[in-house]
């Protein structure tokens, strides 16, 4: 960090990202005054997204029992859920507000990990899979609004065949639930290179978020928005807008449809390019944080697996050691983020960061302890 601040790159992107990094961490200072660090919600944005997703799955299963995917019955079944089924309106509200919370938590997660450089180098796997999770999340929200089959649903997408029929709603129902299932496949991809992914927020935030969703469902019930049922001939001119999922349709007020589609595609592709397009700091500016991929000193490795258990990015695998009965640690270079945690884990001096060796550290220690050492040399 301090190396960053010392040698500032003149690039505008670099300066902007450094400012954003500093302000993100300043926000943490404020949140940490209110909440202890193990309760800080900004450290658990990914877990919060997962919590909302879990809430969505549970309430979605409930709604699925009552939903009727046919033209005549879809809107009526939604009304039946809201008015007749005990607490059906609450569950419908939970499903809707948890979806909003899901998108908010995902965006917080994205921005925080972007601003704090957690998307760079070997950490790009969660970023790329996260872009797909965001894309699918937005798409699922959109099909969810179509399922209600009120006038808001008449956006004339995924019609299929010659016109709107029962098959249309079945198709949309599949396009709602199928990608939602696929989210869990993407989540596997998201977690695959993380040793202990933080997939659940602290209890205080589980209580708060579930509580907030229920409170909103009770205080701002879904029946407040009275939107008439969709009729094939209707041309709705205005309807209540959801900020998080229907923004592209709001943009249709000002831009032609092709431009909106192009904008979405550009956002997605640009998001995929973010870890590779530009960096906040050059490798030289990273200083000690760029000390090269960890190297195993084969003769010292005893195959004790300590580094394997501690590596946060699953970059170390244990392979059978040739000629011995023990194992041997091997660093997968494409996964290593050069943090050096394995060096601290190894009691046998079998791992080194090539540009910051153990003897460099011990030299600094010796210099510090030499009697009368005034001006110490920096590494």
């Amino acid at each position: 960090m301090s190396t960053v601040v010392e040698r500032q790159t003149p690039g505008r992107y670099a300066r902007l990202m450094t400012t954003l990094l500093r302000e993100t961490l300043r926000l943490d200072v404020w949140v940490n005054r209110l909440y202890p660090t193990d309760f800080n919600p900004l450290y658990y944005t990914g877990g919060l997204s997962n919590l909302f997703l879990f809430t969505l799955v549970l309430s979605g299963i409930f709604l699925f029992f009552y939903y009727d995917a046919s033209l005549g019955e879809a809107f009526a079944s939604v009304q039946y859920i809201t008015d007749r089924v005990p607490y059906g309106g609450i569950v419908r509200g939970v499903h809707r507000y948890a979806a909003d919370g899901f998108i908010v938590a995902i965006l917080l997660h994205l921005l925080r990990n972007w601003f704090t450089d957690r998307h760079l180098f070997a950490r790009d796997n969660p970023w790329i899979s996260g872009m797909f999770l965001l894309l699918f999340g937005g798409f699922i929200g959109f099909t969810g609004y179509q399922l209600v089959w009120d006038e808001r649903a008449l956006t004339r997408l995924f019609i299929g065949g010659l016109g709107i029929s029962d098959g249309t709603l079945v198709r949309i129902l599949f396009l709602h639930i199928g990608p939602a299932t696929a989210l869990y496949a993407f989540l596997w991809w998201h977690y695959v290179r993380l040793r202990h992914p933080k997939i659940w927020p602290p209890g205080v935030w589980v209580l708060f978020c579930v509580g907030l969703v229920f409170l909103l469902a009770g205080v701002v019930p879904m029946t407040r928005e009275t939107i008439p049922a969709a009729a094939p001939a209707a041309h709705p001119t205005s309807f209540p807008m959801d900020v998080f999922f229907l923004i592209p349709f709001w943009l249709l007020n000002f831009l032609p449809a092709g431009v909106v589609v192009l904008l979405l595609v550009a956002l997605f592709v640009g998001g995929l390019a973010i870890p590779y397009a530009s960096r906040r700091e050059t490798p030289v500016e990273m200083g000690v944080r760029h000390s090269g991929v960890a190297q195993v000193i084969d003769g010292n490795c005893t195959g004790c697996e300590l580094c394997y258990y501690d590596c946060p990015y699953n970059a170390i695998v244990m392979v059978p050691s040739p000629g011995h009965r023990s194992l041997l640690a091997v660093v997968i270079e494409s996964r290593c983020v050069e943090c050096g945690i394995c060096i601290g884990a190894c009691p046998f001096e079998a791992l080194e960061l090539p540009k910051f060796l153990e003897r460099d550290v011990l030299r600094q220690v010796a210099e510090a302890l030499r009697p009368g050492s005034g001006q110490a040399v920096r590494a």
Binding site: H196, Y313, I343, F356, L357, R359, V361, A376
Partner: protein
């Protein structure tokens, strides 16, 4: 203890901003504290802390990011556990656990960091002079630099 204790701090490059605090590898306000910048607090091998105590340091501490906010996800948690183990190990050799510390401070926590280091140094200053942690097999006094210590690897 009459003289100022010599303290070595291993400080994560991503945690507290050392630019306004340090000068030539030493804290400006506490010149007896030598800082060694490391890529992550988890990089520090507990052996090095023990080594520093053996060579005559009065105290060692490691500073990482706030718990939960490690850039490398869990380096500070791992280091906290390792420090706990080291404290237990050295306690059996009659080394006071106050000589080994784990701190966690973010980029903007410079003032709190300094206060904590000051408290750490004050705790050490009142302790009786350090006994060498490892009494047998190895000279406990500070060795001149360039001894085969670093050549082992």
């Amino acid at each position: 203890m009459t003289q100022v204790p010599k303290v070595i701090g291993f400080i994560c490059d991503w945690s507290v901003d050392l630019k306004p605090l340090s000068d030539g590898g030493r804290l400006r306000e506490l010149p007896n504290v030598r800082v060694v910048q490391v890529p992550c607090s988890g990089f520090v091998r507990p052996d090095w802390l023990e080594e520093a105590l053996n060579r005559g340091a009065d105290g060692v501490f490691v500073t990482g990011c706030p718990y939960g906010d490690c850039l490398n996800r869990e380096g500070n948690f791992l280091m906290r556990d390792r420090i706990d183990q080291l404290q237990r190990r050295l306690q059996r050799r009659k080394v006071d656990t106050a000589r080994i510390g784990m701190l966690a401070f973010g980029l903007h926590d410079g003032a709190a960091f300094l206060a904590e280091v000051k408290a750490f140094v004050d705790r050490i200053a009142v302790l009786p002079p350090a006994q060498p942690a490892r009494t047998a097999g190895r000279p406990a006094v500070a060795q001149p630099a360039g001894t085969p210590e670093g050549e082992r690897t």
